[in-house]
Amino acid sequence: MLVRLDGADTALLHALDAPHAGAVRTGMRVRVRWADRREGAITDIACFEPYDGPVTHEAVPHDGSFPDPVTSLAAPARLEYTYTAGRAQTRYLDGLARREVLGERCPSCRKVYVPPRGACPTCGVATTEPAAPGPRGTVTTFCVVNIKAKGLDIDVPYVYAHIALDGADLALHARIGGIPYDQVRMGMRVEPVWTGDGRHPDHYRPTGEPDADYDTYRRLL
């Protein structure tokens, strides 16, 4: 309901405690029911309730200063969502559950995107054709991480790399393991390592193959 407090010129939105809609009419008198606990928020008014009494209050001038001004208020909010991964991402996630990294091919420019997002950003068309790049790939570029991430159980320094899976036209990124951090290099051949019940590769490790030639991956840098 909207309620115009005695002495006010505009209305306030709040709840009215009434047994049913028939017990409410425009113009009826109501009064504030205060909340048990008050903290300086609109919810300090628990609700309004019907009131039969006369007008007892006139607005009086106020200089706008208060002995205990409210300087902030907390209004907690929680919203719940159901995420729809969509056609492309669902296929990718289903593949991960089988320990496969799947991509999708653009029907127009033939590029293979992994992970797939459902459309080719160059052609603006759906990438409906499934593709299975890898599982091996080439480190196209990398960095050495020296700052320990909160909640991440990995010793620093470690290497985070862009990896072009064989047959993919987009590099994905992952941690490199199984080799000292200062021996990782561009062109190094790597393969995924799946551990425990992880739903994606824990890291990539060297395959031992000779390094890839720069020209084979430079367009993916």
Binding site: M1, A11, I42, T43, A88, P121
Partner: protein
């Protein structure tokens, strides 16, 4: 004011979901609509001079959710692109202004909404005043019911709006997407047999607090219509965005629509959140494209109880 350039809606497409878009991401819902509208205009993905979209992170439940749809428009190499956290009708307004400035001749405008991801009754309370309204979580139907009551009390309607009854259970939630192509002058004539020229467009907003407003009237709609030139000549068609049925009478009075005007010939006046307003503009334009209207008014609204209103006037060549 007469716009400094002739700009028209030359193509329009939309989804026709009646409910949730099961199993589809927002980008996947949007993609067929984009293809349809670009085909109609004869544009390749990424070819429009400017791209502008409307959608809401709060409905999607993730930040920068609109970026997920950019793949679908062919955004690489980079395009000139913008986004409004509003109904797509306001994206159309931004694109129209962009073309008026002369910085673009063509624009792709699209909107998408997947309110089925969450509960819009809760989500929409987050758009309200954070101090006095949001902590009370008043759902849209409750606020619309206040307006319906005010209209009934004032004698504008026979009784309360049954659709604006929060006790009636969760409302039907539709997901969807829509898109239009705008073009200036000769480009518009090349792309469309009968372009829907935008003769004027404007949007205005009511005071934020519901208690400051006369809920039986919509001065913002009236002012936007005036500024868009709607009252300079009669319209034969009006596409009104009416989230709750009782609001129809408010808009008809503010826009001075009489019985000679065909109102909402396209059907449902509500529609997917963030998309419904752009659909009204698109449907009015489509009616001009096929010769069923010569001068049409399109309206979009946003916020509780018709808070923010956009009016555009579209005309076809004789």
């Amino acid at each position: 004011m007469t716009p400094p350039r002739d700009v028209a809606v030359v193509a329009y497409a939309r989804t026709d979901h009646q409910g949730p878009a099961e199993g589809l991401s927002e980008a996947e819902t949007l993609l067929p609509v984009l293809h349809e509208v670009l085909d109609r205009a004869g544009l390749a993905p990424g070819e429009a001079d400017f791209t502008c979209s409307g959608s809401s992170d709060y409905l999607a439940g993730r930040p920068f959710s609109f970026t997920l749809t950019l793949d679908a428009v062919g955004a690489w190499p980079p395009i000139a692109e913008s986004h409004v956290e509003m109904d797509g009708a306001w994206a159309l307004y931004e694109a129209w202004v962009k073309i008026l400035t002369g910085r673009a001749d063509t624009a792709l405008v699209y909107a998408h909404g997947k309110p089925s991801a969450g509960d819009p009754r809760d989500v929409l309370t987050r758009t309200l005043d954070p101090y006095y309204l949001a902590p009370l979580w008043p759902e849209p139907a409750s606020l619309a019911a206040l307006q319906a009551r005010a209209l009934a009390d004032a004698g504008h309607t026979a009784g309360p709006d049954p659709a604006a009854d929060p006790l009636a259970g969760p409302p039907a939630v539709a997901d969807g997407a829509a898109a239009v192509v705008l073009a200036a002058g000769d480009a518009a004539r090349r792309m469309c047999g009968r372009p829907a020229w935008i003769r004027g467009a404007d949007h205005r907003v009511e005071p934020h607090a519901l208690g400051l407003r006369d809920l039986t009237d919509s001065p913002s709609t009236r002012l936007a219509a005036e500024r868009a030139g709607a009252f300079r000549a009669p319209v034969d068609t009006a596409e009104l965005h009416v989230p709750f049925a009782a609001q129809d009478v408010v808009l008809r009075r503010a826009l001075r629509l009489d019985d000679t005007v065909t109102v909402n010939p396209s059907g449902a006046a509500a529609g997917p959140l963030m998309v419904a307003g752009l659909i009204r503009l698109g449907e009015a334009a489509a009616r001009i494209h096929r010769g069923a209207s010569d001068r049409a008014l399109a309206h979009a609204t946003s916020g509780p109880c018709l808070q923010h209103n956009l009016v555009a006037v579209l005309e076809g060549d004789a």
